[in-house]
Symmetry: C2
Subunit: 619 residues, 2 copies
Amino acid sequence: MFEAKDIREKAKLVRKWCMVSTTEAGSGHPTSCLSAADLTTVLFDRYFTYDLKQPLNIYNDRFVLSKGHAAPLLYTLFGMAGAYPLEDIKSLRKLGSKFEGHPTPRFEYAEAATGSLGQGLSVGAGLALLGKREGLPFKTFVLTGDGELAEGQVWEAANFAAHEKLDNLVAILDINRLAQSQETMFGHHIDEYVNRFRAFDFEVIAIDGHNYEEIDHALQLATSNTNGKPYAIVAKTEKGKGVSFIENKDGWHGKALKKEELDKALAELAPINDNLRFELKKPAKVQLTEKIKGPASVDLSFEKDKEYATREVFGEALVKLAAGNKNIYAIDGDVMNSTFTEDLKKAYPEHFVEGYIAEQNMVSVAAGLSRLGKIPFVATFAAFLTRAADQIRMARVSEANIKFIGSHVGVSIGEDGPSQMGLEDISLFGTVPGTIVLQPCDAISTAALLPKMVEHNGFAYMRTLRSKTPLLYKKEDRFEIGGSSILRQSANDLLTVAATGITVFEALKAADELQKENISIRVVDIYSIHPIDKDTLVKCLQETQQKIIITVEDHFEHGGMGDFALSALASTQGQVVKMAVTKISQSGTKDELLNDAGINASHIVKRVKELMQNKNKKM
Amino acid sequence: MFEAKDIREKAKLVRKWCMVSTTEAGSGHPTSCLSAADLTTVLFDRYFTYDLKQPLNIYNDRFVLSKGHAAPLLYTLFGMAGAYPLEDIKSLRKLGSKFEGHPTPRFEYAEAATGSLGQGLSVGAGLALLGKREGLPFKTFVLTGDGELAEGQVWEAANFAAHEKLDNLVAILDINRLAQSQETMFGHHIDEYVNRFRAFDFEVIAIDGHNYEEIDHALQLATSNTNGKPYAIVAKTEKGKGVSFIENKDGWHGKALKKEELDKALAELAPINDNLRFELKKPAKVQLTEKIKGPASVDLSFEKDKEYATREVFGEALVKLAAGNKNIYAIDGDVMNSTFTEDLKKAYPEHFVEGYIAEQNMVSVAAGLSRLGKIPFVATFAAFLTRAADQIRMARVSEANIKFIGSHVGVSIGEDGPSQMGLEDISLFGTVPGTIVLQPCDAISTAALLPKMVEHNGFAYMRTLRSKTPLLYKKEDRFEIGGSSILRQSANDLLTVAATGITVFEALKAADELQKENISIRVVDIYSIHPIDKDTLVKCLQETQQKIIITVEDHFEHGGMGDFALSALASTQGQVVKMAVTKISQSGTKDELLNDAGINASHIVKRVKELMQNKNKKM
């Protein structure tokens, strides 16, 4: 039975703890919690189905707090559900506490780390998509603020959710009018939101977000909706609702109440019944996503004298991986015929997700898939992965297990010009702590490294090449994360050229050129950029005459492979000389542009000779 | 007089050159040009007002090609307008040609580099905003594809344009149904687009994009519109229109016609009158944005014993800069009270732009402002600048003159937790070629460096701190891009600690600690991270006993200041030891988190002692 009075009492207790915890912390966003307290109290009290003992039970409903600054509300809701004593929340924002300023995986009930706004609807869409694909009955609720609806990603997510007919997804929009620095673009004109979500093919209802009957009615409709449309509950609310002196007032964003203000606020709410709790509905079953290891390798054969583009090999290998591991998904950004995720679409359409041209949503959807144990591959042009740099950052904070594939790297893509060239991607992924960065240069190493990416639990990134390259390796060769491969060596090598991807072939050509003049150089294929094979590089320094390593890469000079080499060798005697792209490139043929960028065989030859002369001069 | 027959003949010539140029290049996107040939022929023939001799005349209309892959269409249109012989376009996609695969500034009529989709409407909004702010009569036309409307940035731009009442902005949507890999989300259901733009408060008209009367009517309405709403012309078109065997066909995205296919296509179009040209209307006046240098310094006074947050100083200095240079603008992402751009809003509201929570649009709007000679400051939390990494990348290809300010950097922000910490920003901006990266640690150096950023023509980035710091410098001290400042030195320094931003104070504390044990270290403030002061660092290596530089920064370890130091010193005898953040941080106090990250004074002391012992062991 629905009793507004009971709900009101519970909402008062929710309000209390949002304020108590932030006052205790001395910072936080209590007013942003209070505007959504009524909405979420009804949700948790009457609709939310959840097994507190098993946050990853795939029969649980999902609650994504997109407005991450309302973290104290999230913590209070689960505390009120009995997950831990409410008193625990007093450790909010303190070192080591799972109750962080914005939700992170330290809080086991957070579906994703949030706090960079406008990402929650995409994460929710990823979760809801899984429900649809796997025929699971759970609902996904996403609570968003209004300020964050200005983020384009929200509309990418809205398009995606409607296109995928996610009628198991409920967006609850907390339209409290006030953003951080001023009123939002639309203030309390909630029609602006209603019209937008309706135009984006959502089922929409507008309500007073503090009227319990209206909230309950909306949630009833939303949770029983089966018309193929995602649901948006547009709730007109007031920031700081329930406490007169902060309610709907300017200047109260991100401010905790002082002790005496808190006392005044609690007095307004009194009497508060501290014993009230939510009794969550239990899901019918308990089941986790089955953990699947491997496959340890993919069985692909390549013809000795044929050339292959590593991006094509990725496509073929992905099919083999998915054959051996049903948790593997791929998500594409309308370039499946360039990245070759189309192979997976053909073989296992149920594991392929078309994200269209919306890279931000693509990454956060993948974070949603990962949350429930899937292993998503996110693939597009390397240049366009930069579009999702913030989502990548946040997915890493979420500890998502995503595999990224960036194709069309470097100036070597040729005629399309600088807008299509991935030249920042090693830097982007290399900066994210603990991310594996790989760049195989031939078909065999590509096929061998992809299963290693899957084996690694966490972020892994592979650069793939647009152009075809000859086979350098044999089927029996072994490749490891953190490994490298010495391709040329002799007892009297002058120095070492460490190359990666397309420049490996330039380094080999340079070695051949130099050999004609009886200059031997060592050539190493740095297929694992991070971690980089320090031991081999140290050995190369020690075993070559000049104790020099030239790094050559089709990437901008800062943040690339050369910097990983420099860092690894910082305490070793010897010198690292970086060759990389130092300017904005242009249109031209692959060979012209490698030359224009100063990273082709002839430039390597030139640099080797310069270094030789310098050294001789010094001697 | 409007004669459809004349227009048709001109459109045939446009079509011819889109195909001839791409066939000559052997690659490109002719079908994506053909769908928009009719729309743009009417535009250029009858509406576009432009002075070919002065692309930067602020009375010119503006044409932004958001669908950058239709570059041959852009080149043909300006060729047909008489800017150069059409034959020149045969150099399309060739090394050194200004006719690149996607538009770049080599082509002087391109308003921005495009090719990463969904950015053109924002650039156009920036241009149109300037028209509004400065009372200029020009119109801005943006041609978008349909696939790119899935990019969230388009909807950020739409919100922004409507909110700013940009009725001088006309979006022409080329709805040709087919994207790269397959049909778009909505195919030819143009109501989906009509509804969306209408909901986003645009004036909208839907037309047949191959019917000249309808196109003309729509452009007439759009260009005479004064109702405060931006205009969207939703044009149903066919990819490859005009040539039967490619028209509306799958599999023709991004493919040039073979020679024999081209002959067949031209035969279909025959007869073609090669003498037809557009006669552009000339703008009434010629005027460029006045170039203003400086001001060379800002006059701010600080009290000796007070502490200041560098972000606050930025706000104050910005007002002084704008007082001396009317080209300065600032654009904010709903954090003006955190970044302190609110100071500019108060002092010069006409130079302040509120971008709300939509960082991608913010950066591309700035690129638009920069195109016409303005100097925009883009300011938000450093963490949220990553949201616009792709727009930053493209604005750099556009050679935009943007100043970026990222506040709340590093773990030192404290309780808000990892989602709000800028720890990738040095890497992000450092990777972009030619970008200045600065991080002053006190009020005086901040105020001194800001005019230098303005003086520098091109990208410059400054990190600002959340917390207050004491004054380290005196008013008469000088600061240069590429400079540094030695804060502690003696004749018998053991080694050098090079710090930046908040860690400068940790390094000084460490030096004081060590001095108690009679260990002298040199401390350098690396306020200019890129370029880094190599000469000073080399000198430090030479003058210290251990020839070691420890770099300490509140940034992730890869791609940060340490890597700039390593690169600069790669050929110098000595060792660089990096101290930086190596893991995802958490909530806590500033001091707890600096300690947890291993970059505070006590960790510096520890590291110095370890290095001392290592060296002693080796001796």
